[in-house]
C-alpha cells in the first residue's frame, strides 16, 4: 500500500521563477492538502483539494495555486518566487466524509529560493 508520495524531493529556484510540486495521495484517499513548513516552525496550511476543487484555503497569497486531477493526485504551483518561499512543502492526503480518519503526510519537497 503506497503512502503519500511527493516529487521532487529537492528543488532550487531563482527569485521570480515559478515552481510546480507534485503529490500522489495514499491509495484510497480522495483529498489532498498542502502545507508549508518553514525552518524551525510547524507546518502551515496552504489549501485543500477535493473533487478537483479548492475547498479550504489558509492565509497564503494568490501566488500559491493548485490543481487536483481525476486520479486524486495534486500539484502546487507557486509563481513569482520570493526568498521567503524557501521551505519544506508537505502534502497530506485523507478521506473526506469519513470520521475518525487522519491525514497522512508525504516526505515533502525542500524548496530553496536563491
Amino acid at each position: 500500500d503506497a503512502g503519500v508520495t511527493q516529487s521532487p524531493t529537492h528543488l532550487i529556484k531563482t527569485r521570480g521563477q515559478q515552481v510546480t510540486l507534485r503529490c500522489s495521495p495514499k491509495s484510497g484517499h480522495d483529498t489532498v492538502s498542502w502545507y508549508q513548513q518553514a525552518l524551525g516552525q510547524g507546518p502551515q496550511f496552504i489549501f485543500q483539494y477535493y473533487e478537483e476543487e479548492e475547498r479550504q484555503r489558509g492565509n497564503f497569497p494568490d501566488r500559491f495555486s493548485g490543481h487536483q486531477f481525476p486520479n486524486y493526485s495534486s500539484e502546487l504551483n507557486v509563481n513569482a518566487l520570493l526568498l521567503g518561499d524557501s521551505a519544506l512543502y508537505l502534502c497530506a492526503s485523507s478521506l473526506v466524509g469519513r470520521e475518525n480518519t487522519e491525514a497522512f503526510f508525504g516526505q515533502g519537497t525542500r524548496l530553496t529560493v536563491v
Binding site: V4, T31, S33, Y35, G40, Q41, G42, P43, Q44, F45, Q48, Q56, G58, L90, A92, S94, L95, V96, G97, R98, E99, N100, T101, E102, A103, F104, F105, G106, Q107, G108
Partner: protein
C-alpha cells in the same frame, strides 16, 4: 482563527526520564487532536489521535496523551524516554467532524534524549 501553542521549544532529557510536552489550543467547538513526530530526515508520522470518547489516548511507542476539555489542553506523555525518541514533536488540531480537515499545528518541540 484557532491557534495551537506548544510551550516547550526545546527539551533535553536523559534516557529513562519521564516526558511531558504541553499543548493548548484556542478553538471552543468540536475538535480532533493529534500528536505527530518528525524524526530527523523523515516525514511526519502520527503518534496518536483523539476524536471522542476516553480522554486518555494511547499511541505508538509508549506515548499517551490526555485531553482536558476545560483546559483546552492535549499534553503528550511518556513514562520513560529512549535515545530513539530524539525528534521534533508537533501538536495539531482540526475542527468539526471531518478529521481530515485543515490542521493547525503548534510550533513544535524539539526533544533531545541523551544516552
Amino acid at each position: 482563527a484557532q491557534s495551537v501553542s506548544q510551550h516547550n521549544h526545546h527539551v533535553i532529557l536523559s534516557e529513562a526520564a519521564s516526558l511531558e510536552l504541553g499543548c493548548n489550543y484556542s478553538y471552543g467547538g468540536t475538535v480532533n487532536l493529534f500528536w505527530y513526530v518528525q524524526y530527523p530526515g523523515q516525514h511526519l508520522q502520527l503518534l496518536l489521535k483523539y476524536f471522542s470518547g476516553d480522554p486518555l489516548v494511547k499511541g505508538i511507542k509508549g506515548f499517551e496523551a490526555e485531553f482536558i476539555k476545560s483546559k483546552f489542553s492535549f499534553n503528550l506523555r511518556k513514562p520513560s524516554v529512549q535515545w530513539s525518541d530524539t525528534a521534533e514533536y508537533f501538536c495539531a488540531v482540526s475542527r468539526g467532524n471531518n478529521a481530515g480537515n485543515m490542521l493547525t499545528f503548534g510550533g513544535g518541540t524539539r526533544l533531545m534524549v541523551k544516552p
